[in-house]
Assembly symmetry: C2
Homo-oligomer: 241 residues x 2
């Protein structure tokens, strides 16, 4: 029986666009972008426009959009709030189109532009994402954002969690060392996720800026059934049954 | 107390030369280049010249050098033998300068050119390499060759083995997620190294070409006390007590 292919990419610097033109690409940035996006849709956001630069974010603000934008842990002066999932409350986001400033996220989406489809994954919507993927019958790439092109652990263990679910059926197979590594790291992390991420570099970075309050939340499973799907510069949240 | 820094790099595509100019770089290509180089020095080779292209290898052959060169699993017609460690027998290599064809290895060495020093690591010389590093009192980068820029498991578990030894003392510390991942993967692999590498992609590649006979040998610890050190285009093997 022909099996679908599952791969994992640990960094934008390792992504090979030409190899993944027919695949579903799952964009992963657990601390905090993809977790925040899933939260926004659960709380009723209508759409999210990811933008790379401060200038773009400011321009959208001028047009009346709600803007979530930080640099180095500080909310930009023109923005409505920062990039933490906790900022995307129902009161603020319901029915709104939000501009989300994310240099890395925007770069990843543009790298993956030739893919069959681009979706946003996080622990918060993992079951919904897996159910949706299984319906598509396409190859999958688990694309970890990393940090400044570097490997990171939190995105990797999420990729491992997702790979474990996809490979538990008969549809998918892998011959990719990155996926095997992610599966093994997930097997070590899964019994005590919050304890495991104590050591990750991004956790220290967020703690140093008092931005780590959202970490236990970002590691919680299935907060939402909404799956953010990217299309023509915009993310919309589809409800997955 | 000031501690020395330990980092791990999973692929040439992730290496940041400017950040590592004062460090010792350990070049790792377990299947098979760095294992073969360590074997050659244990068997009496005087020096190894790593070259990137077939043309360079052929040119050296014309000058009378012993040349180890393969492409896609086939020994090149002008070469003396292929790239497996088993080819570097004492009868062939004692007292000789050998030209070793390795596209990836040569690229890595040139990427690391600004480092304080470049050494060759493999399971075959792990204890010697660790002893030598501890004497230098310098930061260390464990530089995995990977395969065609991709992450691979065998180089990563070796990096984990080496990191475990360096971090077991008080001299080194790390805040690098790649190192944590390598340590965790080593903890899973170390109890049954040969069993663990059954799944790695390079093992399948070598098996498909009948080149996998050297795998158990490449996973054996401390075959030699020789440490290949790179200097001005040439590797020499120093004996580490």
């Amino acid at each position: 029986m022909y099996k679908l292919n599952l791969e994992t990419c640990f960094s934008p610097a390792l992504y090979e666009p030409e190899r993944h033109s027919g695949a579903i690409v799952v964009v992963i940035d657990i601390f905090r972008a993809t977790s925040a996006m899933c939260t926004a849709f659960e709380h009723g956001a209508q759409a999210i426009i990811p933008v790379a630069t401060v200038d773009e974010a400011r321009e959208y603000k001028g047009k009346g959009y709600l803007v979530a934008a930080e640099r180095d842990g500080f909310v930009l002066d023109f923005a409505d709030f920062g990039n933490s999932p906790f900022n995307f409350t129902p009161e603020r986001v319901e029915g709104k189109t939000i501009v989300y400033s994310t240099t890395n996220g925007t770069r990843i989406i543009s790298l993956a532009a030739a893919a069959d489809s681009i979706i946003i994954g996080s622990f918060l919507n993992i079951s919904a994402a897996v159910r949706w993927i299984k319906m598509q019958k396409k190859d999958v790439v688990l694309f970890c954002s990393g940090w400044k092109n570097r490997f990171n652990l939190e995105d990797t263990i999420f990729a491992g969690a997702m790979a474990a679910r996809l490979l538990s059926g008969t549809a998918y197979t892998t011959i990719c060392d990155s996926t095997y590594a992610a599966l093994d790291l997930w097997s070590l992390a899964s019994t005590d996720l919050i304890g495991y991420v104590e050591k990750v570099a991004q956790r220290s970075r967020l703690r140093d800026k008092n931005l780590d309050d959202c970490i236990p939340f970002c590691l919680g499973m299935d907060f939402t059934r909404k799956l953010p799907v990217y299309c023509d510069g915009i993310l919309i949240g589809i409800e997955v049954q």
